[in-house]
Subunit: 292 residues, 2 copies
């Protein structure tokens, strides 16, 4: 995304700079930057902007602000997920995790501050956006996807229950932010977000299955984070349930269902191609071919 | 506040109920409730509503939603401050802290979800409020007070620096949410929040000094949380700097400055009386008399 969309990266940099300016404590400022840059694949904002684009992108500023809020919330969730009390992950995005690099206290605060910054940076655009109802709709979709009972906080909390609702767990932990990406992309273009939920849901589940496959099969050099974590933490993993080939088949089915679910809009064919290409890049080619 | 303002408590209960409804994981739902109810003195929302009231309270719904967001953010900050990596506090509001009662993982997630809920519940009122600019102003004041570089996240982060800016630390850690309370109360009534900053600043610092005094002198039965924590954690404390009488004098000066800073408005005399009464209730009477 860094190369693809310098406008988005520069928006994100200016949002973070708003938080790190004087008198922000120096190490905290450094840790905030570190948690957001350099980014991963920026999959969620990319999806959000692609959906906005497919709908004519009438308000590019709102679309970018919405995509930025989603990425900031995603970064916050990674920082908190990596904490010692959760995954206790040493690495993320090919470098030390935030708590390893800056300590646990700053990692908690970085996550908190990024949640706030997501909302703050979105709302800072209030006087520049073309449609207040579209901004409100974006805000509401985002909140739904990160909070409780349906968002990523609730998803993570399922791991603390003795009796897990697996569907609700996956929906909330991974799919929710993908659903937000598609819904918010549509909402930023004045469209009904509900029509775009199924695309986000399927892509989100496909992404979770791909993540499970990589966790079970790949090495850390590919993923940029420790592998084999699901087995270590006793978490459900699609490979342990369906086998490797079954998981790859499931992944392909979900991607197809997602692509079919794209509503009629001016940019539908382009968006279908883009979603397929993005999805295929998630798994090593030899895995996809093996299951064919 | 519970007795004083059942309307506010019932608003807060319905906001939390939105997060804890099915399919929220059961223990997570319980922990969310536990973190908000029963409340402490609800000092910040009380101050926010008092300022709104002094300005004629033209939009009670927005004032209550704003006060609710501030209280939810305050609760979130308490839950995260009590975590093992920060204060490692066993008690809060006279009962076990959230991480003691529900574990560290749920405590992290409860804090995160309450931040989200603060914004979500505020924005859920978007279609009911009388003035969109007032809502936006409320949203911006709140973000400023909790994020970085000036909000409570940044304030807490000062504790992780080797070189502490003491003024910025106190401003951000404690005063910020009081400043938000006065500014947001004014903004909800369509007034310029900047005029109400000094009141919040002085009351916030007074509250911090009172907290320092209680931490140094009182016992846990009075405060409902462990005492002597500043000494244990090597944190700055007004009593260690100014002595007990000096700290009480400082407290009284700050309260007077705050009261003097209340801008001209219809309810100024009532608000002055209320602020004085609230402030005086913060310290045991014998301490205040001793320093007189």
């Amino acid at each position: 995304m860094q190369e693809d969309n310098p406008q988005f990266e520069s928006y994100l940099a200016s949002a973070v700079a708003q938080a790190t300016r004087v008198p922000c404590p120096a190490r905290f400022a450094e840790a905030l930057e570190y948690a957001v840059f350099p980014g991963g694949a920026r999959v969620r904002p990319r999806l959000c902007l692609a959906v906005a684009h497919a709908n004519g992108m009438p308000d590019p500023l709102l679309a970018i602000a919405a995509a930025g809020a989603i990425e900031l919330l995603h970064c916050a969730s990674l920082v908190h997920d990596d904490l010692p009390c959760f995954d206790n992950a040493d690495e993320r995005r090919g470098k030390a995790s935030v708590h390893k690099a800056y300590g646990e206290r700053l990692a908690v605060l970085v996550g908190d501050a990024l949640i706030v910054l997501a909302y703050q940076s979105l709302m800072n655009q209030a006087s520049n956006v073309l449609s207040a109802p579209a901004l409100i709709s974006v805000h509401q979709c985002i909140s739904k996807s990160v909070g409780a009972p349906l968002g990523i906080c609730a998803g993570q909390a399922w791991e603390c229950e003795s009796d897990i609702d697996l569907h609700a767990y996956h929906q909330a932990k991974t799919a929710a932010l993908f659903i937000a990406s598609t819904c918010v992309g549509a909402a930023s273009a004045g469209q009904d977000p509900a029509l775009w939920q199924l695309l986000g849901d399927r892509i989100g589940e496909a992404y979770q299955v791909a993540d499970d496959i990589l966790d079970a099969c790949a090495d850390a050099a590919i993923t940029g984070k420790p592998v084999g974590q699901d087995a270590i933490h006793g978490r459900p993993n699609a490979v342990s349930v369906l086998g490797l080939d079954g998981a790859v088949q499931r992944f392909k089915l979900l991607v197809s269902e997602g692509i079919d679910a794209i509503p009629e809009c001016a940019g539908r064919p382009d968006l279908q191609r883009l979603v397929r290409a993005q999805a295929e890049s998630l798994l090593p080619k030899k895995l996809v071919l093996r299951a064919a």
